[in-house]
Symmetry: C2
Subunit: 226 residues, 2 copies
Amino acid sequence: MTDYYSSHPRFFVSVDCIIFGLKDGKLNILLTHRAFEPEMGKWSLMGGFVERDESVDDAAARVLRQLTGLDNVYMHQVGAFGRIDRDPGERVVSVAYFALLNANEADSELLRARGAQWTPVDELPELGFDHPEMIEKAREVMRRKFVTEPLAFELLPELFTLTQLQTLYELVMAQPLDKRNFRKRIAEFSCIEPTGQIDKTGSRRGARLYHYNPAVSADTFSFFKI
Amino acid sequence: MTDYYSSHPRFFVSVDCIIFGLKDGKLNILLTHRAFEPEMGKWSLMGGFVERDESVDDAAARVLRQLTGLDNVYMHQVGAFGRIDRDPGERVVSVAYFALLNANEADSELLRARGAQWTPVDELPELGFDHPEMIEKAREVMRRKFVTEPLAFELLPELFTLTQLQTLYELVMAQPLDKRNFRKRIAEFSCIEPTGQIDKTGSRRGARLYHYNPAVSADTFSFFKI
DNA sequence: TCAAAAGTGTTCAGGGTACACCCATGG
DNA sequence: CCATGGGTGTACCCTGAACACTTTTGA
């Protein structure tokens, strides 16, 4: 029975995380400055090898936790990347995941310690490996899922204004949206509930703060057609 | 530099192909009866290990070619499957691909020789490994891409009738479509060209045969909203 | 002559899209 | 008092959906 396997090669298997967060009204991703070979000195996605005692999904969650200190973060597989020479050092097959989190919740100490930095998606530096391709694919998958699933609330803080929500959709969809039409649509979703609170930081007048109630949404889904 | 890698384990990496084809007016997939361990005696997807001199994508294309004799078949990655115990024999990370082909073009000698058999998707036997999960995911991805890309023509013969095309969409979308609305939509696509020919096998009256011209379609895309 | 599939237009309603002005407040 | 962002309703058009009968021909 072992013969079935033994004539074949084994490879390192890694995971790479495309971690999205909102920062200064822009969509950012977490990049690290590599302090070791291969690709030392270049910017790259946060990654790590899959170990014996963990599934590939678990490895991705671990890498994310080690970098941000966060658990229970929304993650989704983007796909496997398996070009022969994608890693200049060794043959490595990598599985990419994207993660969505509230940038303020990430442990900034840990980020600093690991040389990680939030970078706007439209100002990415040159990246090592096949990471540009991974990011491209991740944005594509993210955009698609954004339309049909309530992913926005993974990126926003607990309480948010409708302007923040709209801006986020405009960022991800890469197109401007009509304010009145947007709010009309939102009003139909009972899962987006107004709290009594007002945010005074964004304007003189102040804006109503909403929060997302996943319990309500459960029955009312397919999300946006914007 | 090697230290960076060497402390980590290596795994077998395999590919599994979900091969879709039309057979007797139904959507079928190719299954093989396993003549060896692990999972001997069970039905399974056609798979194989990734070798040192090929990318993961290439491995999938090779496995497909070895089974069907076909090259240049439409294939698309479904994702990586990395549960620890997904293969009872060894730790194997597998990357699933779906393929679309015209069932009549597959080399039936090869299929017989390898114990492969077309099986309707709604009559699948019990399958080994995590193959049911892979098939589920593959159908989902396929359905999604079917709406926005001209994948139907990968499954149909070179010349096809509009009834065949509609039946295929109904199969994949799992819902009945209105004949007149369907044909109205088709008429808008200049890439679906009538040939002068008539198919007399499906009806007494005979039906016009069409063919797909990818050159024309290039500029006119996003496909169906059905 | 009849069974069986091919082929063909119109009507209606709902939803998406476009659009402009008043409100509240801090400085 | 004014600059800044917050908040609100209506009208139109287009597209998706529903719907039934005639044509052709082999058996």
